[in-house]
Symmetry: D3
Subunit: 130 residues, 6 copies
């Protein structure tokens, strides 16, 4: 069974990060990912620092970032991350039509990636970024 | 060496698809992916039909679709598709800052996917789509 | 449902391998991996011969070999192998702190692998093994 | 062509990180990974902070961490990371015999991962971490 | 919970595809893959058109195509596709002995793929397809 | 640079395996895979024993086994194995039409694997092997 550190049993160090997660995300609960990371507080802190920085609004908007996250997680068959980031994307406005198109692109990219490997297609000089 | 069917040697059937690719994409050349697919015209036609449908503007805009394509291709280490879809994304307006943020999200998702596998984190009931 | 060949129903050929597994590993039961392989005795024998050779103490110690096994299995999201090799690593002395550090390295490597693909970083000549 | 930020053209912010990399690693040059990351200083800083923390000596020794890194990179076919972390492992004392055993474990794990998927082997209750 | 469109609640457009699936495959029920795709009728139609074309008897016989499908799905740890295509392969005559040999080849290929990455083996000029 | 053990410099132990490879395969040269494995004779012997057993004619014919090998290698983007097993398949009679159909199935399976992950499709009870 997975060991999860519940909020009621968290050390002050872990509790403080849980509170920051809830504040930044404007939610009133902490999801299991963080409760599992909390087994190793240094990892909990490091991952939260990374996610807070990378997933913040920037040159790419937060909903698009969630869809990119889903693209990776579906490709890797990572069920937890598919579920959590799909929920996050829906909370940010993703419609069912968008989710269907997202999966269609993910599926097609996984297909053409393999056609390219199988035919060993050379990169066109026009695609150089020089 | 990869066999590529150049425009000058294409059969009428293949030539017609090449022309459609150039017209739909508003470009004056055909990239190597299609020249490799043309070895098997049924695959060339099928893949073009799929890509034309899936990558068309819809509930998700074309630039976001390119970034999703890149997320899959980087995860799979598919060098040709990274090069071609990065070029396509840049042509649709992707900035270097956006590319950097895109890679940051892709990298982080690949990391947390594995943390989730290693700790076998159970899906929270709140993420159910019921 | 997965077909598992229990010890009580094993053929003499399979039974002999089960006994060797228990003797080499100093355990009194056979785990499901072997009971599934036993559906095809040639595979059972081949895999046991391979694992016995590769996982034996050598230039790398047995606990480190288990951690390498976990690194692969977590990357591939192979739940059974994560569970069985984590148990084996713990039996060989892996602490929770070590497991947390192991997952941290696995996660980070999966992240930087993709940054390298996305930026198409050329191998430094200094890394050549000439 | 990949854009690499050479030391001579680095901004003060990037230059300071390059100096820290050289000091922590006791080397007199910066490898291409960092020169590629430097295109986006926030990513350069974040990745260096992560790697410095995760790869530091801890409950797992630095050479073992390098071998874990290689296990992930070989599984993902990430050529740059295989080359750079093999060089790092050799610098920390990895012998050719150890590299051969490392690859043997990586190969075998990738094999049994798939046998487990194909036979859908259920996790033994004895492997529970309760 | 996964949303599945049952035959009784399908729109005429979806119902027509369900009927074609049953007719082409000579079965009297529709499996969950199609009921999930039916959430987005354009994807349902596109995927059925693709599968009908690609999996049809051609230069490769249908049973071999199913085994190729299984090889990909086992490599990707895609449990649903392993189950559905194993059932399809059995319905087309695959024996247990064949399934065992199929998994043995899949496992071995996944192993040697990694040995090749780890030793960075150069392609022999004799393997060129010029 | 990859270290390859040429026939002229092989130890008697390695030389004997090279001779067996040439005899079993009815060829007059040894390809680079084996020359790389020969750096560690125990691995060379083990892998040759495995491949000789698994790839031998059995319930599945040798050409089909090569196509399964290619399906795994294309999915993993393992360029050397794609090249060597495509050459082997062609030597056993694979036509260009068959190679095109093989890649089409591989591509499609990689696509539907991801659609299944994204929609989290439950396995139909009819696919049970009880």
């Amino acid at each position: 069974m997975t060991i999860l550190i519940e909020e009621s049993e968290a050390s002050p160090e872990v509790k403080a990060i849980y509170e920051d997660i809830k504040a930044v995300r404007k939610v009133d609960w902490v999801n299991n990912f963080w409760k599992a990371m909390a087994r190793h507080p240094a990892t909990l802190k490091r991952m939260w620092d990374n996610i807070k920085q990378v997933m913040a609004p920037g040159a790419i908007d937060p909903l698009t970032k969630e869809m990119i996250y889903i693209a990776v997680s579906v490709t890797n068959n990572s069920r937890y991350c598919i579920a959590s980031h799909s929920a996050a994307a829906r909370a940010k406005g993703m419609t069912e039509e968008q989710y269907a198109e997202l999966l269609a692109v993910i599926g097609l990219a996984n297909e053409t990636n393999r056609l390219v490997h199988g035919y060993d297609v050379p990169v066109d000089p026009q695609f150089s970024t020089d």
